[in-house]
C-alpha cells in the first residue's frame, strides 16, 4: 500500500478516504469515486460499472470484514488516476477471508441468510479489468481493482 507521501507521477491524481464501516456509507463511497473520476469524462456505463464494483467491495468490508459491527471501525478507500487508468483499493481491518478462492466463486456466500446472492466478487470481476484480493486471516482484506477508461466517446 502507498504511504502517506506517495510519489505520484505527473498526470496522476489520487485520493484517500476513511469512513465508518456502516451501511449508509456504501452510497457515499461509490458516489465519492464517481465524483473523483469526473475529469476523465467517463461514459454512463463506465460510471455504473465502477460504482457497482466499489459498492460490492465496500459492502463486503462492512458485512463480512466487520460482520456488520463496524460502527467504531474504518474502511479505507484509495483511488489513483494515472492517465486513463483508474486504480481503486478498498481495505478493511476485519476478520479476513480464510479461503479467497472459495470466496470468489460465483454464488458462494458465507452468509446465505442475508440473501446477497454471493455475486459480489463476480460483479467486481466483470466490471473492472483487473481484480486482486489479498487477506491476512484476522488482519483484514484488501481488494485492488484496475480499470482503463475509454476515450470518453
Amino acid at each position: 500500500m502507498d504511504g502517506e507521501h506517495s510519489n505520484i507521477v505527473d498526470n496522476a491524481n489520487e485520493m484517500r478516504l476513511y469512513f465508518s464501516a456502516i451501511s449508509e456509507n456504501e452510497a457515499f463511497a461509490r458516489t465519492a469515486v464517481a465524483a473523483f473520476i469526473t475529469k476523465l469524462n467517463p461514459t454512463v456505463q463506465e460510471i455504473t460499472e465502477i460504482k457497482t464494483a466499489v459498492s460490492e467491495a465496500v459492502t463486503n468490508a462492512i458485512v463480512h470484514g466487520y460482520e456488520g459491527r463496524g460502527h467504531d471501525k474504518r474502511v479505507q478507500l484509495y483511488c489513483r488516476i494515472t492517465g486513463r487508468e483508474l486504480y481503486i483499493e478498498v481495505t478493511d481491518e476485519g476478520i479476513g477471508i480464510p479461503d479467497i478462492k472459495l470466496a470468489m466463486e460465483p454464488t458462494y456466500t458465507s452468509k446465505p441468510e442475508q440473501e446477497r446472492g454471493g455475486m459480489g466478487f463476480a460483479f467486481m470481476d466483470a466490471f473492472m479489468d483487473e481484480l486482486n484480493v489479498t487477506s491476512v486471516p484476522g488482519g483484514g482484506v484488501t481488494v485492488a481493482m484496475t480499470k482503463t477508461l475509454g476515450d470518453g466517446s
Binding site: S55, Q114, E115, G120
Partner: protein, 114 residues
C-alpha cells in the same frame, strides 16, 4: 427509499425508487415481505423503471423472493429493466430464472390474469 406497491388480482407489483444496495435492501426486503403476506398475492412483479442503481444486494432480494414464491406455486417477473440492470441480470444468471418484460401489461398477460 420510496417503494410503491399496487395489486392486480393475484399479482403484487413493487416499484422501488432510487438506489438498491445493501443498506436500502433491508427496508426493501422487509416491505416486500410485509406486503406479500398482507396481500396474499401469488406472483410478484418487480418494476425497475425508477431504479437508478442496483448492486448484488438487489439480486439477492430477487433470488430470495423467487425461492419463496416458486415453492408456493407463484412466479416472479421483472419489468422495465434498463441497460445496466439488464447486464447484472445477465451476469448473475437471474435472467435465466426470472422472465423480463417491457411493460406491466405483458407481465400480467404472462401471469395469466390469475
Amino acid at each position: 427509499m420510496e417503494i410503491i406497491f399496487t395489486q392486480a388480482n393475484k399479482n403484487l407489483i413493487v416499484k422501488p425508487s432510487g438506489e438498491i444496495d445493501h443498506h436500502s435492501s433491508v427496508e426493501l426486503r422487509r416491505e416486500i415481505d410485509r406486503n406479500l403476506t398482507r396481500s396474499k398475492a401469488k406472483n410478484l412483479i418487480f418494476d425497475f423503471s425508477a431504479v437508478e442503481f442496483m448492486d448484488s444486494s438487489g439480486i439477492g432480494i430477487m433470488i430470495g423472493r423467487y425461492r419463496e414464491l416458486t415453492q408456493r406455486g407463484g412466479k416472479v417477473y421483472a419489468i422495465n429493466i434498463n441497460g445496466s440492470i439488464k447486464r447484472i441480470f445477465g451476469i448473475s444468471g437471474l435472467s435465466r430464472i426470472i422472465p423480463c418484460y417491457g411493460s406491466l401489461d405483458e407481465a400480467l398477460a404472462s401471469a395469466g390474469g390469475e
